[in-house]
């Protein structure tokens, strides 16, 4: 039996900056997971992934990552995605640094 589809977001790295980005419902890329489009339909997910992968001039390595709906938008379900949206744990670098400057 095929496994039931779990909600996803589309994420990638920016071609020039190299940092983590997420595809939003309005077809832009955001650096904040909370702004990502949470996709709950499998067919739609595949279409959106093709959209993302066709943007080779902007992004690298687009893929579908598991997420769940949280109070402020999508949240990761796996620790790898938690690190990607935050930054490394040995220094306050990466996205957590950008947030600290806001």
């Amino acid at each position: 039996m095929a496994r039931a589809f779990t909600p996803k977001v589309i994420t990638a790295n920016h071609l020039i900056e190299g940092d983590v980005i997420y595809l939003t419902a309005t077809d832009t890329w955001s650096r904040d997971l909370a702004e990502a489009e949470l996709i709950t339909d499998e067919a739609h997910a595949q279409l959106r992934l093709l959209d993302a992968q066709s943007q080779a001039a902007t992004v690298v390595g687009a893929y579908l990552a598991d997420a769940v709906s949280g109070d402020a938008g999508p949240e990761p379900t796996h620790f790898r995605e938690e690190f990607r949206r935050t930054g490394p744990s040995n220094y306050a670098h990466g996205k957590q640094e950008a947030l600290a400057h806001v």
Partner: protein, 555 residues
Amino acid sequence: MYKYNEFDAAFLAERNAQFRAQVERRIDGSLTEDEFKPLRLMNGLYLQLHAYMLRVAIPYGTLNSAQMNQLALLAEKWDKGYGHFTTRQNIQFNWPKLSDVPDMLDALAEVGMHAIQTSGNTIRNVTADHFAGAAADEIEDPRPVAELIRQWSTDHPEFQFMGRKFKIAVGGGAKDRAVLKAHDLAVRVVQNDAGEIGYQILIGGGLGRTPMIGKVINDFLPRADLLPYLEAVVSVWNQIGRRDNKYKARIKITLHEHGMDDIRARVDARFALIKPTFQGADQELFSEIEAYFAAPDFRTDSTAVFSTAYKTDPVFRSWVDTNLAEHRQDDHAIVTISIKKHGATPGDASAEQMRVMADLAAKYGYDELRISHEQNVILPHVHKSDLPAIHAKLKQHGLGTANIGLISDIIACPGMDYCALATARSIPVAEQLATRFDELKLEHDIGHLQIKISGCINACGHHHVGHIGILGLDRAGVENYQITLGGDATWSAAVGERAGPGFAYDEIIPAVERIVSAYLDIRSTPDETFLETYRRVGLAPFKAALYPEAQKKVA
């Protein structure tokens, strides 16, 4: 040490111009991402979890103060003020932008450095014994050979798109400090009964998913046959190595599947074809290279200052006893600077620390620095009278930790904090272990004990050959750490045995503590090292300490 000639400089300028154009061609669509990726990798550029990462080669681990200062400049100008020394004598910058990398490479070229073939399915940066040219047990300095191999392998037209990477290490001492047996190919300088110097060649070593210990393919290769022989080995493997499965592509699997006799016969046949293409220019080049590595003019002076400080200053004494190694010159010493301050990231040095080390090398160390696969920095030639001043300066900059070879001198790969391939973190585990054993104030009593941590099966943290190896895995979406015991990274190399089921992130520190206290209980004398004890008693008593619950059930 080696100085770039006009050819090297022109080659590097051309190569960097090519890479600058490749970046532009990726952006304008001439190159697809699939095509660009191997090209950026063969120039040391990865895309990691949070950013690009530039891996710069420190060929055979040797650099001078100007080069170290330039690394500090890169760290400050294009990164976040630090660099990470790796287990393959490279330094990694974790935060560059793609558009800045061509400028970074040009800056490196100013001091004769590059990032060529630090990644990709090519012959990788050649590594060597980090005490080369200084160690008391050395037959011959292995660096001229390593430099010759660097030049031969650089941009080798046949070997840029192989089935997988190919790692070469060179050693020249009685002791192996370069983990020779864990390399695809190892060159060991040896001397035959007639007193001639030649090379023993090992192939098929490697860690990763299927760890294997390298085996001898040629016991004594005459000096002039080295390059044609290496070319024959790599050429045979490039042709018959498997390309259907990346986990079966390395030469260790080719060797395992074909057997040594078959591989040796193929290599010998190909060697016969290749040898006539080398007509002696390589040997002339070798002599030129050798001249660059002539030992410095070691100064002679009284060592009284050293003796006094050793007697009167216990902190200095502890550092001397732990971090110094025997130099071939009696009144000199080899200083290993620990980049493993308790609680800090193993192998990370700030730009300021890099400059301090560069200054020390320029002032006291004949302008030489080395990087070890253990992720530490070495001043290979220091007159003993300068040791107190060096130690004082190191202490001021968080570089005075006296822990070389001890339990807090941990090898750790970047793991899930940076690496896109990781299955779990390694850095925080290393930080916590070092902090814990520092609190216990036991590490000098425990003695020589190497912990090595990898964040995935690729084993960049050499966990298989750690006395205690830790491998971070993802078990159903949770970090889980597997322990192996009894690994050995020296000439008596051994792959560690798996101790049993893994431990959760918050269980791994106490688990290691249980292993260590078991060792303290069962060692026959305080001089018996962990590895000696392990070899004497085997896995069972450690297993009992690790899994007390299982013991109770059996009882």
